[in-house]
Symmetry: D2
Subunit: 98 residues, 4 copies
Amino acid sequence: MSVIAELSIFPMDKGTSMSPYVARVVTVIKQSGLAYDFGSMGTTMEGEWDEVMQTVSACYKELEQDCDRIYLTLKVDSRKSRKNGLKGKTESVAAKLR
Amino acid sequence: MSVIAELSIFPMDKGTSMSPYVARVVTVIKQSGLAYDFGSMGTTMEGEWDEVMQTVSACYKELEQDCDRIYLTLKVDSRKSRKNGLKGKTESVAAKLR
Amino acid sequence: MSVIAELSIFPMDKGTSMSPYVARVVTVIKQSGLAYDFGSMGTTMEGEWDEVMQTVSACYKELEQDCDRIYLTLKVDSRKSRKNGLKGKTESVAAKLR
Amino acid sequence: MSVIAELSIFPMDKGTSMSPYVARVVTVIKQSGLAYDFGSMGTTMEGEWDEVMQTVSACYKELEQDCDRIYLTLKVDSRKSRKNGLKGKTESVAAKLR
């Protein structure tokens, strides 16, 4: 299965300046070796279920070190036999835009 | 940390009759032994991060057996030193309702 | 269409004590007259699209009065010809639980 | 307030080929005139609350014409006095990446 997962995660106990925490999370995702795409509302990655979820856990544990309250949303679209879905999904829609 | 996680998961390739698939997922959550609460838009469970995520993975793998496309959303509120959060969160709000 | 919508909304600039803000939001939903169900990770309501979205906007505007940063997630399952979906969806699953 | 909203919306009654429906939704967002960013797991837009929510409603009503069951998730980060948040949020994180 090609698992495409969009992760948004941030501390709720550190005020409104989130970017240092988000940067730490994106660094964990970069170091995972998974294909990823970093956006304004979350970071999307693609891989097999177990490796994607291991990376999600690594992101959580990165913040858990010094954050006492954490909010996280994850959105997954998993599809058998899909190849290169991170790019393919947007290209397939772009080709149909009026 | 008390990890409260709301999971919504369903196949995208099986038509619009979702309840048999949702029932399989809720059965997996029941069998996990975690505290849980089953609602119309998702099932909420509470535990430590690793046991909650193992249960989420077990739900996914239950459906992956016969579903070729799966959609999943997960929403997590994790808080240090919280006890009995599943009940406590709603009671704390209910006490403040006008 | 029966629109079932789960709303989670909270300020990001008020520390970690969310229940006073959540109570204000739930009060707005109660006063809307829509069928609703209040849970630990969000409040689910049911109605027609326009009335549900008006209520979501009223919740947002309630917090916008004194909050400078707000986070919100909304999850909607909309279905033609469904009656009493808030109760019906859970009953349909419960009947299939092993 | 700068409202950044990520919308994911698709029919649940049309099989697994979602791109024609997603293309119709992205077209509605393009025509709204809002700043937007189109990704593999949703489309992010930025504006004032009312104009963003009007666009979300227009997307829903586009699909409601011929879809009998629709699933939608919306994630909003709203912040007072933010300018050009769609670009600014990612730049602020990118500057901190190790």
